[in-house]
Point group: C2
Chain length 280, copies 2
């Protein structure tokens, strides 16, 4: 199932072409996006998603997005969604056509959530550590690398996920050249040790996770300690639990990392999922 | 002026939307492209462009492109182009819509060449050296980084060109973390010293340049020495001539690098341009 809405709220046919051949989002990956989870008609972390959309747009020097309009179009997709259950809404905002008087391209696309996401959440996943090829120290001094912006230029993220499939694992955890953990191609990484949660910092060029943020907020309220700080690659296998978290994955535990079984974190995943769900 | 043709040769209206909201070229920058210069009805280096399109597609695990069809669609755009003079044809090949029975998206878009390109070629350009943030040694061991593939995920290239504008220069020359020269965001870098031309190697993750290749071929025929080998950043200002070369720029000399005047390479640029043009 797909439901497409233009930024002005118009519902459009998702099978009908929407963008021109010269749209810079298409020809140059020059745009930003968000993926918002909707459960029982409620978008989760919508404010955080919209704030991040605005931050990404600013990093690309796109016109400042009208966040009220983006909130309305999100709700327009929810209202038009014909089924009960969950969906994910992709918000896509590009620089628009290269030629003509142009203006930006902006739409929201509601999509069914693949059944595999829930199955993997229940069963846990296997993962491999892959190099992302940059030193986190470059982030501040080279803003043109757009590290930390959620851009449409995701070919590397997709190639890493294909590589994962080729080597027989479900997920990827990227590391920097300094040996620290970054993020997954489409997820954040969270470690649990005792009553403490950790995730790598946005200053290392990773996306500030909306689901990770919700989980940490809930965990703090429940008395957990949370830290957003560098995590060394060697710490991944030593944690009580290692998780990939995203709007679609929610809290998914990693069972096997680089072929090595990790400590059983089934109960921990259930506890953290309970905390996260308690936010809604 | 724009002329759009689908891969089957059909001429289409470039103002009419062509791709769906869920096209992976749009939502993930998941595709490849080429820009082919056409002068007096003749596409330049078409075989080299098509070979590179196929190499890029292979790196992204896209279905092998039908190069005969791509050649035909290139000629269809040329035949439909209503004006004399030059154009550039963008060949765009994406993974296609994410949902449905899909198939890939493939089209050729003919575009007028901005007058600024010829003016900059005549006057020379200013350039700044910017970090690209990776070590060339990572290229071989991390193929998922797609270094050397000409993908649609060009947000970083576009951001670097915007940064250039912000700091008041025309062009960017990227360097790796090892201090070697890489390429420009949309051009190759060539140095001339005596009767010798050098350019950094594709093994460092730069694109194998079609215009650079033609120039080197012509220069070799004329008795020049050519080397495709690592170039240290410190060598840029010491060369007799520093050039950015691409299908649209052809051979454009860099006059000023990081605010420092370079040796006058006006005559050298004219000589190299003569060699390059002699290929056609």
């Amino acid at each position: 199932m797909r439901v497409l809405a233009l930024l002005d709220g118009t519902i459009a046919d998702p099978d009908t072409p929407l963008v021109r051949a010269d749209d810079l989002g298409l020809s140059r990956g020059d745009g930003v996006f968000e993926s918002v989870l909707v459960v029982d008609g409620q978008p989760r972390e919508l404010a955080a998603h919209l704030e991040r959309l605005a931050r990404s747009a600013a990093m690309l020097e796109l016109p400042r997005p009208d966040l009220a309009a983006w909130e309305r179009v999100t709700r327009a997709v929810i209202d038009a969604w014909p089924e009960p259950g969950e969906l994910v809404i992709k918000l896509v905002y590009t620089r628009g056509p290269e030629f003509g008087d142009g203006g930006t391209t902006a739409y929201a696309l509601g999509l069914s959530i693949p059944g595999a996401a829930a199955r993997k959440r229940a069963a846990g996943v296997t993962a491999a550590v892959l190099e992302r090829g940059y030193d986190p120290a470059v982030v501040d001094r080279a803003p043109w690398l757009l590290l930390g912006a959620k851009t449409l230029s995701y070919a590397v993220n997709m190639a890493a996920m294909r590589h994962a499939k080729t080597i027989g694992v479900d997920e990827v955890i990227f590391t920097g050249t300094d040996g620290t953990v970054l993020e997954g191609p489409t997820a954040n990484v969270v470690l649990a040790t005792g009553r403490s949660l950790r995730t790598p910092p946005p200053s290392s060029g990773v996306l500030a996770g909306t689901t990770q943020g919700a989980l940490f907020r809930a965990a703090e309220s429940a008395g957990w300690n949370t830290k957003v700080e560098p995590v060394d690659r060697s710490e991944l296998a030593r944690a009580d639990g290692l998780f990939v978290v995203s709007s679609v994955r929610r809290i998914t535990r990693v069972r096997v990392l680089d072929g090595v079984d990790l400590p059983d974190s089934t109960d921990l995943a259930a506890e953290l999922t309970g905390l996260y769900e308690s936010e809604y």
